[in-house]
Symmetry: C2
Subunit: 131 residues, 2 copies
DNA sequence: AATGTGAATGTAATGTTATTACATCAATTG
DNA sequence: CAATTGATGTAATAACATTACATTCACATT
């Protein structure tokens, strides 16, 4: 999935997220795109829904915010479960993938016949630079 | 931590959560406690803050809802990172603790000098009974 | 070029979740 | 008893997200 097949609104939203050094809320994105004709939250949420679907963007559940994927050209969906550290001081987000954790969670779910949908792993704290 | 040293509001909120078979939103709790004199969201949020602090209740970040801890008498804070499966059909939540996952996350954080605060692990999907 | 279809968009209104601000009350302690 | 601290009550507002409905755009088929 490259960024070329995105629609205008999807492209604008992805661009804003890509150029941000910290996660953004939907309403912050909206404000940044007012000059581009955005008027309503739904324009942002609809674009985000598609970007999430494409694996170009991640939603950080614990802070109600969105970040561009760290490796959008590869399609993040290929990498299995995505985990994040989120610095509560500077907002810096680091995305990582750990197959051991993934296997462990899968095994737990399998043992209980739990059919896994989306998995969230988020570590909030303080990054090295802010400590 | 037993339930005895809770204040009136904390006790009421904990009671509602304890008797629910699925997670509840703050506003749902508020509605259930109207007859007990609750009038405003803040009464619920303040009680929840304390219950979270005591380890008697967990917040499910991915669905903006709250559940009573599965083993409140032991103080969940003693069990390290808490993970959950959340059935999107029936709402059933299962709490579990996995030291391998915990060690792995701790190691990742340590490697990057990331000071870990709260960690969220939530698997949403479909439970065995709903499949 | 006209038409049909599905995806994307525009807009308003509303619903849901959470916090700020400020006043009051209750328990404890010096 | 005064002072402090934690809990509570209440109103207002902020922040996040969805529903509903009308319109437009892209594109395939005729």
């Amino acid at each position: 999935m490259t960024t070329q097949q995105l629609t205008k609104n999807q492209g604008l939203v992805f661009d804003v997220l890509s150029h941000s050094d910290s996660p953004l809320s939907a309403y912050t994105i909206l404000d940044k795109l007012r000059d581009n004709g955005f008027r309503a939250p739904l324009q942002v949420y609809r674009a985000l829904d598609k970007l999430l679907e494409f694996g170009l963007v991640h939603r950080l559940e614990s802070i109600n915010a969105f970040v561009a994927c760290a490796h959008p050209n590869e399609g993040c969906h290929n990498h299995g479960i995505t985990a994040f550290t989120i610095c509560e001081t500077c907002g810096k987000v680091t995305e990582f993938h750990d197959h051991v954790i993934e296997d462990r969670l899968k095994a737990f779910a399998k043992d209980r016949n739990f059919k896994t949908g989306k998995t969230t792993i988020e570590i909030r704290g303080t990054c090295a630079g802010c400590a």
